[in-house]
């Protein structure tokens, strides 16, 4: 019976999905992360190569042979010579990374290594999700499933429900057909049921409902996709210097304005010029993570000799080519000064400023590498202009020009003062 078969398929697939989720979460990813951070980060990163290779996609490279990977991690040199299935690959890897010997991890148990591998798998997935312009909702616990996953499972459930409804409908129509036939005195035979189901398929109501639902679901999907075209939320390009905002703005608590000098004065917040870096890095020549490597890039660009603490004369300086993360289109005029200094009373103190910046840029102080936090779409701008309240009494400018709103009962928002008009941003 086709109807029953359908249900069987769905049931099976449901079960499989559930099972796979259970399997994924059976391994303790959390423990893996802990272990990874203590044992591996000196040489490895998930997203990029460091001393050793990037671990993203390591499972694919090892053809998912977990046992082989465990053996390799425990003692890589031994593994290479053992003539095991991936020994040759291990040899290549060794050559590729300048014959740097990987440390032995024989003290870790197989299960521990498994959980590390599980964490790597999970983290790679997250990275991919971020790269695909998905939303890295950092506010939530990092260990919780990412929004993309949630989104995917919700989506999946939705489809299951929809198909379920279709099947139910089909059954109802088929049963109705059967009931009608029975009423009319026909005998319930296999052929009759078959016939009823067939008729149910061609029932105009059924076809109508299916069409409406499918078309609207597809439209929603198309609109959603189309809306995200050109938006680069989550964009996190690799920068020429592995500069950590987490370190500078987070741990060291350097005010945003110390480097981004234009934020209160100009349209642009400005990327700091190298002489600003050199204020500190003339003396701070070594970082906690990369040692001298990344800071040396500044010296190379500006022509500084760290050994003798002096600038090299006649040096041909080269600017650092940072990759722009926030790209507004040419037809949008955005002024940092307007928003930070005027709109949000930004830089009273570094903490307020930091919170002001975070409204659009997110918790930069937590970002190892900066990514685009907001989607920077017009809808996003407009929503903020609709809800942000303006204190008309805050300066003579507002008191005089917007005197009509001084005693306004309604809350005065940016919108009230014309903040949604085209020529405020487009000219």
């Amino acid at each position: 019976m086709p109807g029953i078969m359908n249900i069987g398929v769905i049931k099976r697939s449901c079960f499989l999905t559930f099972l796979s989720i259970v399997i994924v979460w059976a391994v303790d990813v959390k423990e893996g992360e802990q272990l990874f951070k203590t044992n591996c980060t000196a040489c490895h990163r998930i997203e990029r190569k460091l001393i050793g290779p990037a671990l993203k996609g390591v499972h694919e490279r090892w053809d998912n042979m977990e046992e082989e990977m465990i053996a390799f991690i425990k003692n890589s040199q031994k593994y290479m010579k053992a003539g095991r299935p991936k020994s040759q690959y291990a040899q290549q890897l060794f050559e590729k990374f300048n014959r740097t010997v990987m440390q032995n991890f024989e003290h870790l148990s197989d299960d521990q290594i498994r959980s590390i591998l599980a964490y790597i798998k999970e983290a790679s997935k997250q990275l991919e999700a971020q790269a695909a312009a998905a939303a890295p909702e950092k506010k939530e616990e990092e260990k919780a499933p990412t929004t993309t996953e949630l989104y995917r499972s919700v989506n999946f459930a939705l489809w299951v429900i929809i198909i379920g409804i279709f099947v139910t409908l089909l059954l109802i129509f088929a049963l109705a057909n059967v009931a009608r036939a029975k009423k009319e005195g026909e005998e319930v035979t296999k052929a009759l049921i078959k016939q009823s189901v067939k008729e149910a398929f061609t029932n105009p109501y059924f076809i109508g409902i299916v069409t409406v639902v499918v078309v609207s679901a597809c439209s929603v999907a198309v609109v959603k996709k189309a809306r995200s075209v050109g938006l680069h939320k989550g964009y996190q390009p690799v920068q020429p210097i592995a500069f950590s905002h987490k370190l500078h703005a987070g741990e060291l608590q350097i005010s945003c304005q110390y480097c981004h000098v234009g934020v209160e004065r100009s349209k642009m917040a400005t990327i700091p010029s190298l002489n600003i870096c050199m204020n500190c890095h003339k003396y701070v020549q070594e970082g906690p993570k990369y040692g001298k490597k990344e800071i040396a890039k500044i010296y190379k660009a500006i022509g500084f000799d760290p050994e003798n603490m002096r600038y090299i004369e006649g040096y041909e300086q080269k600017p650092i080519e940072w990759v722009r993360i926030h790209n507004l289109p040419d037809f949008v005029y955005f002024s940092h000064a307007q928003h930070v200094k005027v709109g949000l009373d930004g830089a009273k103190d570094p903490e307020t400023l930091r919170q002001t910046c975070a409204k659009c840029h997110g918790p930069v102080w937590e970002m190892e590498e900066v990514y685009q936090y907001s989607d920077l779409s017009m809808g996003w701008c407009v929503n903020c202009h609709r809800t942000t309240k303006v204190d008309v009494n805050k300066s003579d400018y507002y008191r005089i020009i917007h005197k009509d709103y001084l005693n306004s009962e309604e809350p005065v928002t940016v919108e009230t003062l014309g903040g949604l008009e085209c020529a405020r941003c487009h000219y």
């Binding site: 349209k267 190298l274 722009r324």
Partner: protein, 1008 residues
């Protein structure tokens, strides 16, 4: 009521525009479908591009004064060899993008001409050479210096002659360097040559006062102005300065006693200055001396002075008598100017001014003008010397005689005889191509310098950008060749310390004095009391009558070689902004043409664009005809400065290359002067038609009475209301409104334009282009009516058909009306936009969102003012549709890597298929508001300025917040507030945000 018309064809009954006559687009349905399909697929393809990775490069060492995103302003000096202006240069991220006037200068008082505005684009001219050249081969400065110094030494030892040929030099330090050079190389002589010479004016003053000088003219102090063939508002001597002064006497709203200066203009062509005159009399070119003699006699008779013999000439005697009467009434408060480079004419003018006691009041010799120092006789002597092979070394700086000298073949062959010739041109121009070396002098925006436009007025020029190319100042070369290892800046500073600082009151130490001068841009000294007195034993009358006995006014046709407001002598001919700036009178762009009077055209059967051959002596040119109403019937005119062959050197991108014809060979040498009026002209039609590209959307004023309002001063004084007739009952207007009003805020931007002050010079147009990234579309596109200027200066002719004696086209008056988006409160464009791309702001702006617009052009169709502009192509950069804009729009700065640097980063560069129009410079308004907000203070009146307003040399534009009751604009906005104020086509009820002050001419007749 006079009749207003915009084109001769309208008088002949034609009511449709040329565009309509050409018929509709002939595209078949199949072609349409093909293009449509292709368009869609290419759009899809284009939309599927990967987002490019963008980089951000911060400074290595950020200069502390520089903040990315904010403009820096530097005071500097503009001088193109003809006109001087103290300017402020706006730079963004270290590149100059806009020129504005420097209000600190008492000469130009914050005004800049169209040429000054456009000069910033010449900095980014691709035709400039990037390194020194030896002949046609690039060389290095070291090599060039080595050989030149060697040759100079040998020549010095053998006693050879060195000549330095320059255009007018205003820089006192440069003059000093030349002097010092002449001390090191004793056989050096310095010759000054101007393409358009004013030598006779200076010589006349030498004859009478003993000083070879041009006085300073104060048009603001003059009650009566008589100008004879002198375009002092457009091109003559120092037009921006004169316009500033002239406007003082024309702005009725600033004169509570309702008086105005009176301006008589006598001329053969119809100049922009003539258009502004109260009374304009026609005089055949070449007959001006007769007119001046007659005028002189009228005045001499009344003041009891010796009279000259009468000379008959072709001019309006009655009007001259009237002018004489007015002049006599305003003794000491009048000016007579003459634009001829003819000593007799200048002596006569000088003498008239003397009789009227004008010297010492409106003409000041105490502070003489140092512009136009060219000496025609010295130039002639130089060429003779060169021909005789006597000149061993020739340096050429700031002039281009192989193009501008009338006997250019003679000059070129003489130049070839010079042992060592060095040009300092920034491109291998007509002259430089024959020189042994071309050592490029930097553009003024990348070099140090100074200027002394008047004896007691100094001005500094400072670089605003690091030199783009491997150039070196002319001054530094001279210093080096003298054996001085000094750069020009240090020389300049020492010079100012030693020669100029002592003239100051020395309250500041020199360092601070220098910084202050740099900041202010100008340094002015008090003018001494003593004025040069006339020499005692000079009998001007005798000298003039001797000359008059030889003088015979020419018969037949005479030709005037004039300068256009935009192109001038052709120095900046490779500047596309100037080429696309329409001539104020003819509205033609990108070309010169033969101006003929309507009667002559009718007689010969010529129309606009008919090709004629013009012949003077054995020299001929072919050019199209432009029929100019109001031109004297025996006078022809053609503009200088066109038809340059090497305006771009060897570069293909030669803006000036194929525009117009070169008429410098027609310039006549007479009595040792270069004269720009030629007699014995033959002209014949040779058949054929050439399409002149004209910015004139519609050649008709459609008989509307409410577009232009004007009247005489007499009428205005008796009943201003009669002049400013309301076209619709104001009460009705108030009570009947189809639409609900827009929400408003505390700001309502509005503008008032004084048509009395607007002289039509076009400075606002170029200023607008520079401020708003307006593309240059070229001759073809303009001929199709696709001009992109956001502000245009409409030129209306007006005439009365009630005078049967005079055909309407013979002596019409001209009114200029700047037309830009009126920011209507009930804008007809807004409610036809299907996508809400054009909407209204609470500040009264009619906004245009480019990214929303998809190009239906309904708005432009519905605009009663025709101020909306459509981007038919991606003028700037795209080649998506198989069209390479670099080939199609090579002159558009934005299509060029280098030219793109001039773009204003605060304004979007519009893509194809979008509509654009005047925004009231919303970026400037927003910037002014932000500044006030950041300082927590209210917005000051006059703080937010539009680009057109800022650049207007006569301050004809008032702009501000209407809601601020104390603002200037609130005083004059609309008929209820001021009696001269009116709205254009008020009856269509669009409630514009721009009001015009009606034009009043200081005429006696009480006619409306």
């Amino acid at each position: 009521m006079p009749k207003y018309w915009m084109d001769l064809s309208e008088l002949e009954g034609n009511k449709t525009s040329e565009e309509h006559q050409n018929g509709f687009l002939k595209t078949s349905r199949r072609d349409f479908l093909k293009l449509f399909g292709f368009g869609i697929s290419s759009a899809v393809w284009a939309a599927c591009q990967k987002t490019p990775v963008k980089y951000a490069l911060p400074y290595i060492n950020k200069p502390p004064e520089l903040m990315p995103g904010k403009a820096n302003w530097y005071a500097s000096t503009f001088f193109d060899g003809e006109h001087y202006a103290a300017v402020l240069v706006k730079t963004r991220e270290g590149r100059p993008i806009k020129i504005e006037g420097n209000p600190s200068s008492s000469i130009t008082k914050g005004g800049v001409s169209a040429r000054g505005q456009a000069s910033v684009l010449s900095l980014y001219d691709n035709a400039r050479i990037r390194k020194p050249y030896k002949g046609k081969q690039p060389t290095t400065w070291e090599n060039a210096d080595k050989t030149i110094i060697q040759q100079l030494q040998t020549i010095k030892e053998k006693g050879g002659q060195i000549r330095i040929l320059t255009g007018t030099i205003l820089s006192p330090s440069t003059k000093q360097i030349i002097k010092e050079f002449a001390e090191v190389y004793p056989n050096t002589q310095w010759i000054v040559y101007d393409a358009v010479s004013y030598a006779a004016l200076r010589d006349a003053h030498e004859t009478v006062f003993g000083v070879k000088a041009i006085p300073r003219y104060y048009f603001d102090k003059a009650d009566v102005i008589v100008s004879v063939a002198c375009d002092f508002l457009g091109t003559w001597l120092s037009p921006v300065e004169f316009a500033k002064g002239y406007a003082q006497g024309r702005k009725l709203h600033k004169r509570p006693d309702k008086t105005m200066s009176r301006h008589y203009q006598f001329e053969g062509l119809y100049s922009m200055t003539g258009a502004n005159a109260d009374y304009r009399g026609k005089v055949q070119a070449g007959h001006e001396i007769a007119l001046l003699t007659y005028l002189y006699n009228q005045i001499a008779k009344q003041t009891g002075n010796p009279v000259l013999p009468e000379v008959t000439g072709n001019f309006d005697k009655k009007l001259v008598e009237k002018a004489a009467k007015d002049l006599l009434k305003a003794q000491g408060k009048s000016i007579v100017v003459c634009g001829l480079n003819d000593k007799t004419a200048q002596l006569l003018t000088l003498q008239i001014n003397r009789l009227l006691q004008n010297y010492g009041s409106t003409l000041d010799l105490r502070n003489p003008c140092l512009l136009r120092q060219g000496d025609d006789q010295a130039m002639e002597n130089l060429i003779q010397e060169m021909e005789q092979g006597k000149v061993d070394v020739l340096f050429i700086f700031g002039c281009n005689p192989a193009y501008t000298y009338p006997e250019r073949e003679r000059f070129i062959s003489a130049l070839k005889k010079v042992g060592l010739s060095v040009s300092f041109a920034d491109r291998i121009d007509e002259t430089a191509q024959y020189c042994h070396y071309t050592l490029p002098h930097p553009h003024y925006l990348e070099a140090w310098g100074d200027a002394q436009p008047y004896q007691y007025h100094y001005s500094l020029q400072q670089p605003t950008i690091h030199p783009l190319f491997d150039t070196r100042p002319f001054q530094e070369s001279l210093l080096k060749w003298q054996g001085k290892e000094q750069d020009y800046l240090s020389y300049l500073k020492t010079f100012w310390e030693q020669d100029i600082y002592p003239l100051s009151d020395k309250t500041l130490p020199f360092d601070r004095f220098w910084v202050r001068c740099l900041h202010d841009g100008v340094f002015e000294l008090p003018i001494p009391e003593e004025s040069p007195q006339p020499k005692e034993n000079v009998d001007v009358v005798a000298e003039v009558s001797a000359a008059l006995s030889q003088y015979k006014p020419p018969q037949g046709l005479s030709l005037v070689l004039y300068e256009k407001v935009s192109i001038g002598d052709g120095t900046m001919a490779n500047n596309p902004w100037l080429q696309e700036l329409p001539d104020p009178m003819t509205r033609v762009v990108w070309d010169n043409y033969v101006l003929v009077a309507p009667s002559l055209a009718k007689q010969k059967g010529w129309k606009k664009g008919s090709i004629v051959e013009l012949q003077v002596g054995d020299k001929k040119v072919k050019a199209p005809v432009f029929v100019m109403p109001g031109q004297e019937k025996n006078t022809l005119g053609i503009a200088l400065g066109y038809g340059r062959t090497r305006a771009a050197g060897d570069k293909k991108k030669n803006v000036a290359g194929n525009t117009g014809v070169d008429v410098y060979p027609f310039v006549k040498k007479k009595d040792g002067y270069l004269q720009y009026q030629v007699s014995g002209v033959q002209i014949k039609g040779i058949g054929g038609y050439y399409k002149l590209a004209q910015i004139q959307i519609q050649p008709t004023a459609a008989n509307r009475e409410s577009v232009i309002k004007e009247g005489t001063l007499a009428a205005y004084k008796t009943n201003p209301k009669a002049l400013n007739k309301r076209m619709i009952d104001p009460k009705f207007l108030k009570e009947n409104d189809l639409y609900s009003p827009h929400p408003t805020s505390g700001i309502r931007w509005a503008m008032v334009i004084d048509m009395n002050a607007c002289i039509g010079c076009g400075a606002c147009v170029v200023s607008c282009i520079a401020e708003n990234n307006i593309p240059v579309v070229g001759k073809d596109e303009i001929a199709r009516g696709r001009d992109m200027h956001w502000i245009r200066i409409d030129r209306y002719f007006s005439s009365r058909s009630d005078d049967p004696k005079q055909p309407e086209e013979e002596n019409p008056q001209v009114v200029f009306q700047p037309m830009l988006c009126q920011h209507c409160q009930h804008a007809p464009c807004e409610n036809v936009c299907p996508v809400l791309a054009t909407t209204h702001s609470s500040e009264g702006l009619n906004q245009q969102a480019y990214n929303r617009c998809f190009g239906t052009r309904y708005c432009a169709n519905n605009c009663p003012h025709k101020v909306r502009r459509f981007n038919w192509f991606n003028y700037a950069y795209s080649n998506w549709y198989g069209e390479n804009p670099k080939e199609r729009f090579p002159h558009n700065p934005a299509a060029d890597e280098l030219g793109r640097l001039v773009l204003n980063p605060d304004v979007t560069v519009r893509a194809s298929g979008t509509m654009e129009k005047c925004t009231f410079c919303v970026q400037r308004l927003q910037a002014a508001k932000l500044k006030a907000k950041m300082e927590g203070r209210p917005l000051k009146d006059g703080e937010a300025k539009t680009a057109c307003q800022q650049s207007c040399p006569t301050d004809a534009i008032i702009f501000g917040n209407l809601k601020d009751e104390n603002s200037e604009v609130a005083k004059y906005f609309g008929p209820e507030r001021y009696d001269r104020s009116y709205f254009v086509i008020e009856e269509v009820k669009t409630y514009p945000s721009i009001a015009y002050m009606l034009k009043v001419r200081n005429q006696d007749e009480n006619k409306a």
